[in-house]
Symmetry: C3
Amino acid sequence: MSEPLILVLVVLEGIGVLAFAASGVLAGATKRLDVVGVAVIAFLTAFGGGTLRDVLLDRGPFFWVANEGWVWAVLALAIVGPVFLRSQHIEPTAKAMQWPDAVGLGLFAASGTQIALESGATPLVATLMGVVTAAFGGIIRDILVNEIPWVVSSYQLYAVIAFAGGWLVWGLGALGMAPVFAVALGAIATILLRVLAIVFNWRLPQWRLGSA
Amino acid sequence: MSEPLILVLVVLEGIGVLAFAASGVLAGATKRLDVVGVAVIAFLTAFGGGTLRDVLLDRGPFFWVANEGWVWAVLALAIVGPVFLRSQHIEPTAKAMQWPDAVGLGLFAASGTQIALESGATPLVATLMGVVTAAFGGIIRDILVNEIPWVVSSYQLYAVIAFAGGWLVWGLGALGMAPVFAVALGAIATILLRVLAIVFNWRLPQWRLGSA
Amino acid sequence: MSEPLILVLVVLEGIGVLAFAASGVLAGATKRLDVVGVAVIAFLTAFGGGTLRDVLLDRGPFFWVANEGWVWAVLALAIVGPVFLRSQHIEPTAKAMQWPDAVGLGLFAASGTQIALESGATPLVATLMGVVTAAFGGIIRDILVNEIPWVVSSYQLYAVIAFAGGWLVWGLGALGMAPVFAVALGAIATILLRVLAIVFNWRLPQWRLGSA
């Protein structure tokens, strides 16, 4: 992998990490986990997806091992964040969090797909790894606070957008674009798509289970 | 590992994959997960056990990476399956699903044990890997829909039959039988045992916790 | 790693394994899991933390693969334990279990940190691996019985003590102490700290979420 691409991937993953850590802090504080619990859930939400991807790809060292500063940043966020959080802030904060979360989604999906491609994965496996990177942290977060994961039950276009974004990253690369641009474009497109899905409240179709 | 044995193991694992994916689809649709959620749960139920086994054995590539067709098959099942599912179908479908699930149980337990033995595992570790292969997918499925896993709480003879089947596979091999036949016989015996357990409603003993 | 250090680490991890397995048996029996479920939860509680640590460090063979006797011991405990358990015993047993659990906490945190340091991990990563070793088994246990993990929601000083103990192990080693003594001292200090936390009912601060 080229030097600038590595740098871009690391920076992007770092920004996504903070957005996801913040969603973990919010979930943990809302459920009144203790300060250790908030740190644990922030850590797992932020690093869970990328770590599972790397375990599955038998790839190392992990992002948070190679870039230890982000671990300190997440720990700091988990300790300081709840101090400034009040009950009446939770709902507006969750709403406001949708935007950085969309950024995290795009960044993780694009970088996760590219990392898997660089490891020799096929397009399908690589895009699934992008989805794992983007969605698994949130799944662990919701399991920890004993809820059915939002990602699989919200009828929002979320994982499916990560999946589409991964295919775009692969497609651009297959068309000859340099990986660093393919990842950047793929991430931007994924973020935009997610923002559109939030703004226009796009939903997955409901089952007609009950209707027959 | 010999060529025909590899082929047999791949085909068996594939049949088991579809049975387990269907149980994931059913669980996801019953809980009204969205279409992405049904795909995620089908995928995790089908491939979770074998993937954890391979991660624990440090073995690769994963079944679904090496045989990508099954991923497409599971995705197709997850998208098409719920379209034909109606509320009043769920209970009879769940009942009908017991039979292919029994097939999956036997196939996963036998092939999982053999794969672990081929990786140099001791008999105990190999049979536990058979149980992991057969039971872990269902455990993830139930955790995802926020229920205590059926495998550990149903008082049915399920994991214990997988465990017994694994020992049979090992025993037949230790007696000098070619692995391909040991796996086939072990799988058949495990399936039969599970079918008998369903038909005669065999149960694990209840705790006498409350009685003293 | 030196021979006596390896021996000490194995013995310590074994004692911790039994304490954690017992807490799994108790949780499983309390929730009326079946006998297979109690064995599964005992196994995951006892070996889950060390196994995740080793998967994350890409290190093998696992403790329970290399020391198969402990697997048999945990299986025996899971089958025999509930036979002697009565409903009215559960609360006093859970209370009594705090003490061996404190021993397990100290042993896993200290040995987990040292094992990670021996694998070349930085101090922060190594202490986090100590926390993973000590706390992850309990997290799986509680997720399996469909509860928010006690470790993250009890406001008790638990994981944070494991974290502190890990730093002590690292610090003693950095000061030139032989690893075997650093681990022993670190484990003892961690156990003492946890015992003090139980005796004096030390708690993490409550969020002031509701108060503004």
